[in-house]
């Protein structure tokens, strides 16, 4: 980080915008890649949707190492602990925000993360007519990839989005199963 106190906040601000700006530039570029192809253009949202999920997954797979090295959190014993770590440590560390955790399913295998805004789009202008789905899927991919590396198969999806006019942005997380090595089965 910058050593000069008066430059400190500027540096941090630019550093954090770098990711969102780059993400935005990538999306803009992808839209350009396809704008000449009429058939493809109709499918653009679907294409971009499927583009970002595996990319997010790859990022998540690497991000988890960075996270574990920097955060000193221990192994989570259940999905509730996992939810806490995701919201209060991971989101705070990487995006500077702390979503709230709500809407637990009775079985304790699903919960929602509520954010006031879609965290990826502060400085991005959405290309005309394209839904915010494309932005959402990167984050869903990251969550999936990261959790898979700690032996959890999960599904993540945006069920509400401020970009689409909803009051909040809501990510629904669903635990599918533990990815086993030697742990005894039948923890349900």
């Amino acid at each position: 980080m910058s050593r000069q106190a008066n430059r400190g906040t500027e540096s941090k601000k630019m550093s954090s915008e770098l990711f969102t700006l780059t993400y935005g530039a990538l999306v803009t570029q992808l839209c350009k890649d396809y704008e000449n192809d009429e058939d493809v253009n109709k499918q653009l949202d679907k294409i971009l949707f499927s583009y970002f999920l595996p990319r997010g997954y790859n990022i998540g797979v690497r991000l988890i190492e960075d996270f574990l090295a920097r955060s000193n959190v221990g192994r989570c014993h259940d999905f509730r602990e996992t939810a806490d770590v995701i919201a209060k440590v991971a989101f705070k560390m990487y995006l500077g925000i702390t979503p709230s955790i709500t809407n637990w399913s009775p079985a304790g295998d699903e919960f929602s993360l509520i954010l006031e805004n879609n965290p990826l789009v502060d400085f991005v202008e959405l290309p005309d007519n394209h839904s915010s789905l494309i932005y959402s899927n990167l984050l869903c991919g990251v969550l999936r990839g990261a959790l898979e590396m700690v032996q959890m198969a999960v599904e993540a999806k945006f069920v509400q989005d401020t970009l689409k006019g909803d009051g909040v942005t809501e990510i629904r997380m669903r635990f599918i199963r533990r990815i086993e090595d030697n742990l005894p089965a039948g923890e349900e």
Partner: protein, 159 residues
């Protein structure tokens, strides 16, 4: 506010695209390429430049701008300063980073030198874009003699 690591990982994914397209061209027009990466870096560099506070824009001379890139911009983007800046005082500058963060994750050794340009294209564009916002037109190229040290060559274009 996004952590710097997110950019690093996203950048890695974008560079990985270059290999993906070589092996399996998909639908669509322009593929990911070095010039596309550079172009994206340029737009991001411009946007970053636009977010600089006014007092930083009052540079006395060209060398001050380059020093700004080496210190403030580099710290903001890569959490470290450029390691050296040289110039011929005739519009050419060589900026050297002895441990460029986007190259660090690659193993050192000659067998990866060929791949290094892919990891530098975006950053060349970034430099060119920020310079552009500061009113300076330039050509920026990069070279790697041995990982993870790299040099960025900035040649000012007189209009």
């Amino acid at each position: 506010m996004a952590d710097a690591a997110l950019f690093e990982f996203l950048h890695m994914e974008m560079v990985a695209e270059l290999w993906a397209h070589h092996s399996d061209p998909g639908p669509g027009g322009q593929k990911m390429s070095l010039s596309v990466l550079e172009g994206m870096g340029f737009r991001v560099g411009q946007a970053l430049g636009e977010r600089l506070p006014q007092e930083t824009l009052a540079f006395r001379e060209e060398l001050d701008v380059l020093k700004f890139l080496c210190k403030d911009l580099w710290v903001a983007v890569f959490q470290k300063q450029m390691d050296s800046l040289r110039t011929n005082h005739q519009g050419t500058y060589v900026l050297q980073d002895n441990s460029f963060p986007l190259l660090i994750r690659m193993a050192s050794g000659p067998q990866y030198l060929e791949e290094a340009p892919k990891f530098l294209a975006f950053t060349c564009g970034l430099l060119r874009g920020t310079l552009s916002t500061l009113g300076i037109k330039s050509l920026v190229t990069a070279s790697v003699a041995s990982l993870p040290t790299c040099k960025f060559q900035v040649v000012i274009q007189k209009t």
